[in-house]
C-alpha cells in the first residue's frame, strides 16, 4: 500500500467519523434547545439549598460592605470608599484585615435592600465577614439628591417625617436580618449626614430629617449585640466643601477617609 492511499484512508475515515459525530451533536443540541428536558437541575450542591457552605475561619476584621452608593464609594476618585479605606488603615496599623465583598449599589433604598438580603450570594458574602458595614437611608430621604435639586418647593416637614417613619421600619428589619444571617459579625452602621448643609434653603429641613433618622437608627442599633453607629453628621455640617465630591451629594476621597478613620476609632483596634 503506498503512502498516498494510506493518507486518503486515514483522512477519509477520520473525517467521516467526525462528521457523523458532529451531526449527532448538532441534532442533540437542536433538540435540547427547542424541546428542553425540564428535569430539576442537579448541581454540585443540593438543588434549592439556599445555605451555601461557609468555611469556618472568619476573621473579625474581614469586612463586607452593603448598602447604597456610600458603601460602594461613589464620589471617591480612587473608587475605594470607606470600606476599602478602613481595611487599608487597619492593615497599616498591622491588623490582619481584608475586604470580602463590597455589595454597595448606587441608589439603593431600604425597601430594595430587604429582598437583596434573601439572595444566597449576598448571604454568603455576609457570612464570610467578621464586620458588616451598612450604609443605607440617604436615598430614602433624599432620593439620590436629584428631586431636591430640581424641585422648586422644598419637601414639607410632614413629607419628610412620613419618609423617615417608613424607612426606619425597614431599617430595623434590615438590621434584624443581618444579625440573623451572621450573628457573630459586628454590624457597623454609617449614619447619615445632610449633604445640603451649605445650601441655606435646604439646610433646615434636611438637618431635621437626618437628625431624626440618626436618633432612630441609634435606638434600633442599641438592641443589637455588638452593633456600632458611626457618626458622620458633624463632618459635613461645616466642611461640606472639603468633604463632598463634585456631585454635591457623595463624599470625596477625603470624606471617605474621614469616615474610615471614624470607623477604625469606633471598633477600637490597638495600634
Amino acid at each position: 500500500m503506498n503512502t498516498t492511499s494510506r493518507i486518503w484512508r486515514a483522512a477519509g475515515l477520520i473525517s467521516a467519523v467526525s462528521t457523523l459525530l458532529l451531526l449527532c451533536g448538532f441534532i442533540y443540541a437542536v433538540r435540547d434547545v427547542i424541546y428542553p428536558v425540564t428535569s430539576e437541575p442537579n448541581g454540585a450542591g443540593s438543588p434549592g439549598d439556599h445555605s451555601l457552605n461557609v468555611p469556618l475561619q472568619v476573621s473579625a476584621m474581614d469586612v463586607t460592605a452593603i448598602g447604597d452608593s456610600l458603601a460602594k464609594g461613589t464620589g471617591d476618585d480612587t473608587g475605594k470608599g470607606f470600606a476599602k479605606r478602613t481595611v487599608e488603615i487597619l492593615k497599616k496599623q498591622g491588623t490582619e484585615s481584608k475586604l470580602v465583598n463590597n455589595l454597595g449599589i448606587n441608589g439603593l433604598t431600604t425597601k430594595k435592600l430587604l429582598p437583596m438580603l434573601d439572595e444566597p450570594g449576598v448571604q454568603y458574602a455576609l457570612k464570610q465577614a467578621g464586620m458588616i458595614m451598612l450604609s443605607i437611608g440617604a436615598n430614602d430621604l433624599f432620593e439620590g439628591g436629584e428631586p431636591l435639586q430640581t424641585r422648586t418647593e422644598l419637601p414639607s416637614e410632614a413629607e419628610l417625617n412620613a419618609k423617615v417613619k417608613s424607612a426606619t421600619e425597614n431599617l430595623s428589619e434590615i438590621l434584624a436580618k443581618l444579625h440573623d444571617i451572621n450573628p457573630q459579625a459586628r454590624i457597623v452602621y454609617i449614619s447619615l449626614y445632610n449633604p445640603f448643609s451649605d445650601m441655606k434653603e435646604l439646610k433646615n429641613a434636611g438637618d431635621k430629617a437626618v437628625a431624626q433618622w440618626n436618633s432612630i437608627a441609634a435606638e434600633t442599633m442599641s438592641s443589637i449585640d455588638g452593633g456600632l453607629v458611626v457618626p458622620t453628621f458633624d463632618l459635613f455640617t461645616l466642611q461640606a466643601g472639603r468633604y463632598l465630591s463634585g456631585d454635591h451629594f457623595h463624599p470625596n476621597g477625603t470624606g471617605y477617609q474621614a469616615i474610615a478613620e471614624r470607623i477604625v476609632q469606633g471598633i477600637g483596634v490597638q495600634e
Binding site: 443540541a29 437541575p41 451555601l52 454568603y124
Partner: protein, 334 residues
C-alpha cells in the same frame, strides 16, 4: 450502475482530499491553532491569577461581586439600554448559578475549551474554514489545472460535487481538531479535568427577563458535544458560501477578501444593529448558534435557534444552486 457511480465519486473525492493534504492547507489550520490557543490560555491564566489574589479560591464571592458590579451599572443613565438588557440577563443567570451552588466558570481545560469555542464560533472557526474553502475552485482556475480536470470524461457537476464533499469533510476535521487541540493545550495550563462538571442550559430569554422554567444542567462533556454540533453546522454553511464565492470569483485573493469582509461585517453588525431588525436575515449575524445554548441574548430581537437555522440553511441552499448552475454553464477561457 449505482455502485459504479459511487466508486467514481469516491475516487474523485479521494483525489480532492489528497490534493487538499498535499497543498498543506490543513496543516496551516492546525499550526494556527497550535500557536493561538497557548496565547489565549496563557492570557486567561494570568487573569485567573489576578482574581485569585483578590478572591482566593472563593468563586461565590467573585460571582456575587460580578452581580453587584453589574447591578451598579444598571442605575447609570450613561449605559445604553441594550447593554442593560444584557447585564440584567447576566445577573439573573449568575444568581441562578449561586442559588444552585454551581461555579459558572469552574477552572479547567474543559471549561476553557467551552469558553474559547463559544467565542471562536462566529469569527475564528469560520476564518479557518475559509482558509481551505476559498480557493478550492478558484485555485484550479488560477493555476490553469481546471482544464485538465474538466477534460477528463467526468461530468462537470460531479467534479464540483466531489470538491464540495471534500470541503465538508475537512470542515468536520477542523471543528474536531479545534476542540482536541484546544483541550490538549489548555489542559497543560488548567488541568485536564471537568468533563462531568454541570453546566446550565435552557435559559429562555424574553426581553430582559430570563425564564428559568426550562433550565437544566448537563455535564460539561455533553455541552461540548452539543456545542461542537452547532459550530459544525455554522462551519458547513460558511464553507458552502465560501465555495460559491470560489466558483464565482476567479482570483483566490479576491474570494478570501469577500468572505472575510462578510464575516467581519457580521461581527460588527451583531454589536450594533439591534435596531435594524431586517439585518437578522443576513447570514453573518446568525452565526452565533452557541449563544442559544449558553443563554446569551441573540444580537437582534426575535431571533431564536429555529430562525437562525432556517436563515443559514436558506443561504446555503441558494449558494449551492448558484454554484452548480454557474459551474456547469460557464465557459473556461484561460
Amino acid at each position: 450502475m449505482v455502485k459504479l457511480l459511487n466508486n467514481h465519486m469516491l475516487s474523485l473525492v479521494q483525489n480532492e482530499t489528497i490534493k487538499m493534504i498535499k497543498k498543506k492547507r490543513f496543516y496551516v489550520v492546525v499550526l494556527v491553532l497550535l500557536i493561538l490557543v497557548p496565547i489565549f490560555a496563557y492570557a486567561q491564566m494570568k487573569q485567573a491569577e489576578d482574581k485569585r489574589e483578590t478572591y482566593g479560591a472563593d468563586w461565590r464571592r467573585e460571582v456575587q461581586q460580578a452581580i453587584t458590579d453589574n447591578q451598579n451599572s444598571l442605575g447609570s443613565d450613561r449605559v445604553p439600554e441594550e447593554w442593560k438588557k444584557y447585564r440584567q440577563i447576566y445577573i439573573q443567570q449568575m444568581k441562578y448559578y449561586l442559588e444552585h451552588d454551581v461555579n459558572p466558570a469552574q477552572p479547567g481545560g474543559v471549561s476553557f475549551t467551552r469558553e474559547f469555542l463559544d467565542n471562536a464560533s462566529t469569527l475564528f472557526i469560520p476564518l479557518l474554514i475559509m482558509g481551505i474553502g476559498s480557493d478550492i475552485v478558484s485555485s484550479e482556475r488560477t493555476g490553469g489545472t481546471v482544464k485538465m480536470l474538466l477534460t477528463r470524461p467526468v461530468r462537470r457537476w460531479k467534479v464540483l460535487l466531489s470538491k464540495l464533499i471534500t470541503l465538508l469533510l475537512f470542515v468536520s476535521l477542523i471543528v474536531v481538531s479545534s476542540f482536541i487541540i484546544c483541550y490538549l493545550i489548555s489542559g497543560l495550563f488548567f488541568g485536564y479535568k471537568g468533563f462531568n462538571f454541570p453546566v446550565f442550559t435552557g435559559f429562555q430569554l424574553q426581553g430582559a427577563d430570563v425564564d428559568m422554567s426550562a433550565v437544566h444542567s448537563v455535564p460539561q462533556w455533553k455541552y461540548l458535544f452539543m456545542q461542537a454540533g452547532l459550530i459544525w453546522f455554522v462551519g458547513i454553511v460558511v464553507a458552502i458560501l465560501a465555495f460559491m464565492v470560489s466558483v464565482l470569483v476567479r482570483s483566490t485573493a479576491a474570494s478570501i477578501v469577500i468572505m472575510m469582509a462578510a464575516l467581519i461585517a457580521g461581527n460588527i453588525l451583531s454589536n450594533m444593529a439591534s435596531s435594524w431588525t431586517s439585518a437578522k436575515y443576513l447570514f453573518m449575524v446568525n452565526l452565533g448558534l452557541t449563544n442559544y445554548l449558553a443563554g446569551t441574548p441573540a444580537p437582534i430581537e426575535g431571533m431564536n435557534l429555529g430562525f437562525s437555522l432556517v436563515v443559514l440553511a436558506a443561504w446555503a441552499a441558494v449558494s449551492l444552486v448558484v454554484s452548480f448552475l454557474v459551474f456547469t454553464k460557464q465557459d473556461i477561457l484561460n
